[in-house]
Amino acid sequence: MAKVKIATDWLGGCAGCHMSLLDIDERLVKLLESVEITSSPITDLKHPPEDGVTVGILEGAINNTANVETAKQMRERCKILVALGDCAVFGGIVTMRNLVSMREALQRAYVETESTVEGQVPSAPELSRPINKACPLNQIVDVDVYIPGCPPSADAIYHALSELLAGRVPVLTNENLRYD
C-alpha cells in the first residue's frame, strides 16, 4: 500500500511542537512504515511537492508576510491541513505582540536595549514584514484539524496522526486536549 504523504512546516513559533512530534520516539519508526515525510524543516525539502500531499501540518502563528505565503501554499498542496499547537490553533504567545505596538517592539529590541550600540530597526528588502496583527492559522486559510497545546503532548500528536491514517477525524479528549 502506498505511503501517505505528509508535509510539515513551522511559521511564527518556537519549534516546540515539532520537538513534541519527535517525542513520539520509537513510534516514529512505526509511523514511517505508513507515512512518507516530504518537506519539513528537518528534511532538506522545503516546499510541499507540487502534486500535493495528503496531510499538511503547520506549527506557529501567522506573524509576517512570509508566513502568509507559506500557509497559503500548504493549504493549496494538501488535502487535510492540521494546525499544530497553540500558536497555530489560537495564535498563542506570538500574539502577545499584538498587545504592544510593533514599532515600539522593534525600537526596544534594536535601539533601546541596554547592550545595543548605535542601533537601527532592520528594514532591508530581503527581510519579510511583520503583518499588522499576528493571528492563528484559521484566520488566513481553512483548517481541518486542530491540535492545541503548548506543545501538544507526543501522545496527542501520535493519536491524531494515527486516527488520520485510519481515515477518521481525530477527536482529542482527556489528557490529549490541553491548552498548555
Partner: protein, 473 residues
C-alpha cells in the same frame, strides 16, 4: 553586482536566508546571513509579573526551552535577592544536563548528522533523519534513545518534556523522586556508549575528509564560555571567560557585569543582532560561543572521559584554539559526554533527593541578571522591575546571537572557496548551509522569532534578470 540568494537554509532551527554578493569579476565579495523574523519578547513581557518569566521565556524556543527557563529563574533569584538552596541548584543543573544531552544529540544525529553520515552530496531527498534511519537503523534507534533519555530527565523533574514548569524564583518547585533518580542512573552507561558511538562516527568522517575540515571556514575570532573557578568547563553557573584568537584570556566576568563586556551591533539586513567585545569594538571584537567557543575558552573538563577527548581535541591545533568550523561537531559530542558524566555526579550527590528547595524573600530588588550556557552558547536574561515586581525592561542576549558574525563569515569564506563566476552547483549550496549548520543555530531563540521558506537559489543580474536558478523542493 550580482546576488545569489539561498532561501531558506534547512536543517537548522529557525529561518534563515543567505545572500551572496559577487563583484564585477564574479568573485564573492560579501555574504550575509539574513535571519528573518521577529516576535518581540523583549517588549511584550513588559508589565508581566516577574515570576512568570520562566514560563513565558521558555516559549522563545522549543528545542532549548530549559535554557531560557533556567536563565529566567536565575534572573528572578537576583531580582528577589536570594541564592537558591544547594539541592535546588543541583536539580536545576540536572535538568540542564538533560537538555544539553537532548539538544546536542538531536543536532548531531538528526540535523547535522545526515551530512556526515550520508555525505554532503547525497540526494537531498534522503539527506535527512529518515535517510539515516533507512541507511543505519541501529544507529538511528540509538539516536532516538539518546534524545529521549535527555528529554526524560526534564520530564522526571517537571512532568513534561517541552516547556517545563520546575524552576521558580528562589529554587525549584519539586524534588527528584528516588525512582526517577534510579531510573536515570541505570541508563547512564548505555547513553555514554551511544555518545561514544557518535564520536567514533564523527572521527571516521573527519579522518576521511581532513582536507575539507582543515580548509572549511577556518576563522579567527575570540571564544567565550563559562568556567569553574579552576578554569574547567561549566555549563550551569560560573564566571564567563572570553579569550582572544590565540587563546589568551581577555576577560573573566560575573554575568551581572555583562554590559561592561558585551555590546550588540545591528545591521539593516538581519533581525539578529551581532554581539561583540566592547573593548575591541565592532567588528574586531567578534567571538564564537557554543561547544567550540566553550572548549577553547576552558582549561579542562572536570569529568574524566570528556576530558580525555578534550586532550585529543586540543591536539588538532596544539597550543592554540581550534578554529575550523566543522570541529563544532566534535566539540558538541565532547560536551554531550561531559553532560552525561556530570549527570551521574549530580545523581550520586547526597543532596539530590533533598526537599530543601526554595529560598524565601520578602524583597524586590528590582533588577536581576541570569546567565547559563545554553547548548548553543552563552545566554543572558536581564530584567528590571518596578517596586510591585512587574517587568519594566527586559534584555535578552541569546546564544546563537553571539555566533551571528561567525555564521555569516563562514558562509562568506565557504562561498569564496566554492563560487566562481556564474557557475552554481548543488554541492556548493549544501556546503554553504553546512557552514551555518555546524553552529547549530537556534534562530527562534536568537531573534526571539521563527520562520521558514523553501530553498530557491537564484543568480540575479543587476537589472533583475534571473540568470540561473536552482530550486530545492
Amino acid at each position: 553586482m550580482k546576488t545569489i540568494t539561498i532561501e531558506p537554509v534547512t536543517r537548522i532551527e529557525g529561518h534563515a536566508k543567505v545572500s551572496i554578493h559577487l563583484n564585477d569579476s564574479g568573485k564573492v565579495e560579501e555574504a550575509r546571513l539574513h535571519v528573518d523574523e521577529f516576535r518581540g519578547f523583549e517588549k511584550f513581557v513588559e508589565g508581566r509579573p516577574f515570576f512568570e518569566m520562566p514560563q513565558i521565556t521558555s516559549r522563545i524556543c522549543g528545542i532549548c526551552p530549559v535554557s531560557h527557563h533556567l536563565a529566567a529563574a536565575k534572573a528572578c533569584d537576583a531580582l528577589i535577592g536570594v541564592t537558591p538552596p544547594r539541592p535546588a541548584q543541583l536539580l536545576r543543573e540536572l535538568m540542564h544536563m538533560g537538555q544539553v544531552v537532548q539538544s546536542h544529540s538531536m543536532h548531531f544525529f538528526h540535523l547535522a548528522g545526515p551530512d556526515l553520515l550520508l555525505g554532503f552530496d547525497a540526494d537531498p531527498a534522503i539527506r535527512n533523519v529518515v535517510g539515516v534511519l533507512n541507511a543505519d537503523p541501529q544507529l538511528a534507534a540509538k539516536a532516538i534513545r539518546l534524545r529521549a533519555f535527555g528529554q526524560d530527565v526534564i520530564k522526571a523533574l517537571s512532568g513534561r518534556r517541552v516547556h517545563p514548569n520546575h524552576s521558580i524564583p528562589g529554587g525549584v518547585n519539586a524534588p527528584l523522586s528516588v525512582e526517577s533518580r534510579d531510573a536515570i542512573l541505570s541508563q547512564i552507561d548505555e547513553m555514554m556508549e551511544i555518545v561514544k558511538t557518535g564520536i567514533k562516527v564523527a572521527k571516521g568522517w573527519y579522518g576521511e575528509n581532513m582536507d575539507l575540515v582543515n580548509s572549511f571556514a577556518v576563522l579567527k575570532s575570540g571564544y567565550m564560555g563559562t568556567v569553574e573557578p579552576d578554569g574547567g568547563l561549566q555549563l550551569y553557573e560560573g564566571k564567563v571567560r572570553l579569550v582572544d584568537q590565540d587563546g589568551k584570556r581577555l576577560e573573566e566576568f560575573e554575568p551581572r557585569s555583562y554590559l561592561d563586556v558585551i555590546a550588540e551591533h545591528v545591521e539593516d539586513w538581519s533581525y539578529l543582532k551581532f554581539p561583540y567585545y566592547r573593548k575591541k569594538g565592532w567588528p574586531d571584537g567578534v567571538y564564537r560561543v557554543g561547544p567550540l567557543g566553550r572548549l577553547n575558552a576552558a582549561d579542562k573538563i572536570s569529568t574524566p572521559e570528556a576530558n580525555a577527548e578534550l586532550q585529543q581535541f586540543r591536539a588538532i591545533n596544539p597550543g592554540k584554539p581550534v578554529e575550523g568550523t566543522l570541529w563544532f561537531h566534535y566539540a558538541r559530542l565532547i560536551e554531550d559526554l561531559y553532560a552525561i558524566e556530570r549527570m551521574r555526579e549530580l545523581l550520586l550527590d547526597p543532596d539530590i533527593l533533598s526537599t530543601e528547595l526554595v529560598a524565601s524573600s520578602k524583597q524586590i530588588v528590582g533588577e536581576g541578571v541570569g546567565c547559563i550556557e545554553a547548548p548553543r552558547g552563552t545566554l543572558i536574561h536581564h530584567y528590571k522591575t518596578d517596586e510591585d515586581g512587574l517587568i519594566t525592561k527586559a534584555n535578552l542576549i541569546v546564544a546563537t546571537g553571539h555566533n551571528n558574525w561567525a555564521m555569516s563569515k563562514s558562509v562568506e569564506v565557504v562561498a569564496k572557496a566554492c563560487v566562481d563566476g556564474t557557475k552554481l552547483t548543488e554541492g556548493m549550496l549544501n556546503r554553504v548551509e553546512a557552514a551555518i549548520r555546524a553552529h547549530d543555530p537556534c534562530l527562534s531563540c536568537s531573534t526571539h522569532a521563527v520562520g521558514a521558506m523553501p530553498i530557491v537559489l537564484e543568480l540575479v543580474a543587476p537589472g533583475g534578470e534571473v540568470l540561473d536558478r536552482m530550486v530545492r523542493d
